[in-house]
């Protein structure tokens, strides 16, 4: 099992990295705006007003990038669709997620292209981002919005921000720090993951690919 498997298209990777950069920028600048304690973060960007501008630019680019990606390729549409189809097998995977997370292993049923843990991550992210984008939009144009709506937008924006930042930490850990699952990281750079890793983590998907003869040789 020394082959490689194409996991992410260029389109998806581009979206992911735009998202990632914007996310970090939004997180840092947002944190600087929302608490005086974290306001010093803003000095990285050149002050609180620059941070506010960056927050809005990043929000705009980020939102626009989603729209564009959804329009030009089918991958995101199917990803979003799949993410919300949480099956019994996904649940079984998620159930053992904590053990996996801590570096242990417990068997789980064969997973599709996105396993239960990833689906969980995606669901939280998608929901959070939707909430944060809508509430952010309302806050951006506060003077022309009903006051009560803006008042509701504020806790919603903060709440989702904190939630997806928590999710982000887990995602970052699994993608970069976790000694086993970080094998998938390359998938976000060149699009390929090791055949073996695919077999181990997404057996159902792997079998599909194999049936279609899509396992590529390395070198």
């Amino acid at each position: 099992m020394n082959g490689k498997v194409k996991r992410f298209t260029a389109n998806t990777r581009m979206f992911h990295w735009i998202h990632a950069v914007c996310f970090v920028l939004l997180g840092l600048t947002g944190a600087a705006i929302i608490t005086s304690f974290l306001q010093p973060i803003s000095s990285i960007f050149g002050g609180i007003q620059v941070s506010r501008d960056i927050h809005r630019w990043a929000a705009g680019i980020f939102t626009a990038s989603i729209v564009i990606c959804f329009l030009i390729g089918p991958e995101l549409r199917s990803w979003a669709k799949t993410s919300f189809k949480f099956t019994k097998d996904d649940f079984a995977h998620a159930k053992n997620f904590l053990i996996e997370f801590m570096g242990g292993h417990k068997p789980f049923p064969p997973q599709g292209k996105f396993n239960g843990g990833e689906k969980l991550n995606s669901m939280l992210m998608i929901t959070g981002l939707l909430g944060i984008a809508i509430s952010g939009f309302i806050m951006w144009f506060a003077p022309s919005m009903p006051q009560w709506l803006v008042q509701w937008a504020q806790p919603i924006h903060s709440g989702f921000a904190l939630l997806i930042m928590a999710v982000f930490l887990a995602h970052f850990y699994l993608g970069v720090l976790h000694p086993d699952s970080n094998q998938a990281l390359m998938g976000m750079f060149n699009g390929y993951i090791p055949e073996k890793f695919a077999y181990e983590h997404y057996e159902a998907w792997y079998n599909e690919l194999k049936a279609e003869g899509k396992i590529e040789k390395v070198g």
Binding site: Q49, F101, P109, Q151, A166
Partner: protein, 272 residues
Amino acid sequence: MTQKMVFIDTSRCTGCKACSVACKAWNDLPAEKTQLISSYQSQADFTPNRWTYINMTERYEAEEGKMQWLMLKKQCFHCADPACMAACPSKAIFKTDSGYTIIDQEKCIGCGYCVVNCPWGIPKTNKETNKTTKCTGCIDRVENGLKPACVHTCQPGALHFGDAGEMKEIAQERLAEVKKEHPKAQLYGDAFMGGTTYLYLLLDDPTVYGLVENPNKPITLTLWKNIVHPLGGVAFGGAALAVAAGVFSNFAMGNYRDRAKKIAETHEKGGH
């Protein structure tokens, strides 16, 4: 300094607008271009450079042939427990012991959260300077023994300034007097937001003047500051802790040291 108060006796206000001119003159605020809207009113709302103005309400009861022209001088209420202060993420808003609610212009970042959470929408953000401003209560005058500029200029005696206790007494006396003619007359300001430093005597229900009936700190503000932030903080902190635990656990299990070996090992991790 003792707790101060401005008592606004709307029954005595003639709507001459001298207060709004005195405010601009003292605070060096530029004049703004306007047009007549209705009644004799050209100032529709607060702006970053308009901290007080007169709101005019015309009411006609055709059956009795009775006309009322209600005047309401509007400015910041200087709440004892101000929503703006709770909403400010930059700790720019503070209370003085004299009862004023002040926006520290150095600390203000112009985010506008105070604007949204003020029950009356009083503070306004200047888009160019990114600073939010509102009535300062002429704290610079008051702390030097002068009356606020608006009070100082008021000719008909609609504005009174002094120690809070004394003002409350005058307000009660005037209320008793005015009630004879206007049974719905009431004080506005003492029963909410911890009690306001600017206390009104209204001739009718607050809604007649376009004022909120029972102004409150928005429930969303409490939700935001007292629930969402702590909970979100816990979630975020929890995630951070979990990550740290994960790294430690993997380390302890030798997963980092033996990474290559473990990856190479052919064992079926799936559900077989």
